[in-house]
């Protein structure tokens, strides 16, 4: 289980994340939703030690991320699809990642195949489409054969086939005992495969429950309408 306790982060006087507490269960897909600026990305960055919280902490079965012996073998994260040098080929990008985390080089070929980038493996990433970059970022997350996947807007740039592949992949991953924590603006898409939802608004936790329980809160409205009403940002979601 991942436990997020009292996580707080301010940028100047502005609170980006305010006293956030929730948990992410093993063997389930947990969606992380909220409007732009709600603090989702900041939270996810704090979950892997890239942003230092002002207060609070994140623990993976009681161990802080920064204390993990092999973080990449426990947590695979995709927080930004730009995280690759345009001059590197896909294969070399993954080889460097694998070497850094002491992961066997043969995992590189395995994950390239898994995300469908075998044929583009020797192309420089500078020429990749957004969808290809997204797949390569996912390949990087899968490289350590992790037990947890943290994905920030992973379906951005993917075509419908890619989105379906991702959905199936994450569902299968969770069914096999893995933990999936995935943020998305696409509430309807997320509702199709998430088991639980964590709803964020203005940096604060608005709800954390199963999809079924959240849907049952208002039987006359869709889950999307319920969440939009909750975040009070319907206009922003509608225009997205």
């Amino acid at each position: 289980m991942i436990t997020v306790s009292g996580l707080t982060k301010h940028y100047g006087d502005r609170p980006a994340v305010d006293d956030l507490t929730f948990s992410v269960a093993e063997g389930r897909v947990t969606g992380f939703v909220g409007p732009n600026g709600a603090g989702k990305s900041t939270t996810m960055r704090m979950m892997v030690g890239l942003t230092q919280p002002d207060r609070g902490e994140v623990r993976y079965r009681g161990v802080r991320y920064s204390d993990l012996r092999h973080p990449a073998r426990l947590v695979g994260a995709v927080l930004d699809t730009r995280c690759m040098h345009p001059g590197h080929t896909a294969r070399n990008h993954l080889r460097a990642m694998a070497a850094l985390s002491d992961i066997a080089p043969d995992r590189v070929e395995a994950v390239l195949h898994e995300v469908g980038l075998d044929e583009a493996a020797d192309q420089r990433t500078g020429g990749f489409s957004l969808g290809m970059r997204q797949r390569l970022a996912l390949a990087g997350a899968l490289l350590g054969d992790p037990q947890v996947l943290l994905l920030d807007e992973p379906s951005n740039g993917l075509d419908p086939d890619g989105i379906r592949w991702l959905r199936n992949h994450l569902t299968d991953f969770a069914h096999r005992g893995g933990t999936v924590f995935v943020s998305s603006h696409l509430i309807a898409e997320l509702a199709m495969f998430a088991d639980d939802l964590v709803v964020l608004g203005g940096g604060r936790l608005l709800a954390a429950d199963t999809v079924a329980a959240l849907t049952a809160r208002d039987s006359s409205a869709s889950l999307e309408d319920t969440l939009l009403a909750m975040t009070g940002a319907a206009a922003r979601f509608a225009s997205a």
Partner: protein
């Protein structure tokens, strides 16, 4: 496709899953392997290496061809292109960090290795290796260019010593570049700042400073490791000349301070 058999089991319950300092030390070779892959798979690094050899050969050959002093030999001329080689090494050092920061791969590295000093050690060793490679390329090409330009090869008695000091100069320039890159985190800003400082600011400020102090400016001190000869300098400057080990200490201190500040910022800043 879907299987319901739980096959992904969390493995962090065991105490062995918690990182120790020993694990971090063992991670250094892994970080070095990763740096090596990045270094050798980027075209830009090969271009810088080629450019270094070309700069060394062309400048030394040009000096040899226009030389009218028969006592000047290739074993002296090969050092003249090295200030430019040092700048290329500093730029390579800058790029080693700023390209990671600007392309988001720094975040990938920091997530993979939370012990940030491991990454710093790997970067420092790699930058020093790059500096050494550029130094060797520049010196060999400079020597070859001077010989091709028509001067005598000269005696080898001082060649090894000169080459060793020049190697130190260029390696330290690469480390200063890495440190500046870690501090500035922006390629154009770091390169412009470094070039402006070395080629403009030091030249402008040096005459305004007390004679004993101007030697302490970083690239003035670094340049003197080459022992290119004081023939163009006024007697008052020559009177305050320090020994090469002292200049090496001064230049090395700049490298150390820039790396220390860069490391401190790496720990304190959120990654891009």
């Amino acid at each position: 496709m879907t299987t319901t058999t739980p096959t992904i089991a969390w493995t962090i319950d065991a105490p062995a899953a918690v990182r120790t300092t020993r694990d971090d030390v063992r991670a250094v070779p892994a970080a070095l392997r990763s740096e090596w892959i990045k270094l050798t798979s980027l075209r830009a690094n090969k271009v810088i290496l080629g450019l270094t050899a070309a700069v060394g050969a062309v400048i030394a050959a040009g000096l040899a061809m226009t030389n009218t002093d028969p006592s000047v030999t290739a074993s002296e001329l090969f050092i003249y292109p090295l200030p430019l080689v040092a700048m290329l090494a500093a730029v390579a050092g800058i790029l080693m960090f700023t390209s990671e920061s600007q392309h988001g791969t720094l975040a990938v590295m920091l997530a993979a290795r939370p012990a940030r000093w491991v990454l710093v050690v790997a970067k420092v060793v790699t930058a020093a290796t790059v500096g050494a490679a550029l130094a060797v390329a520049g010196m060999v090409a400079g020597f070859g260019g001077a010989a091709a330009g028509g001067v005598e090869l000269g005696s080898g008695s001082h060649l090894a010593s000169r080459a060793a000091w020049a190697l130190g100069y260029i390696v330290m320039a690469a480390l200063i570049g890495l440190g500046v890159g870690m501090i500035v985190r922006h390629t154009a800003g770091a390169i412009t700042g470094l070039l402006m400082w070395s080629f403009v600011a030091e030249s402008l400020f040096a005459p305004m400073l007390p004679d004993g102090v101007r030697h302490a400016l970083p690239f003035s001190a670094g340049y003197r490791l080459l022992d290119a000869g004081p023939s163009f300098e006024p007697p008052v400057v020559i009177a305050h000349q320090l020994a090469r080990p002292q200049y090496a200490l001064i230049f090395g201190c700049y490298a150390l301070v820039s790396l220390a500040v860069g490391t401190l910022l790496l720990y304190r800043r959120d990654s891009n």
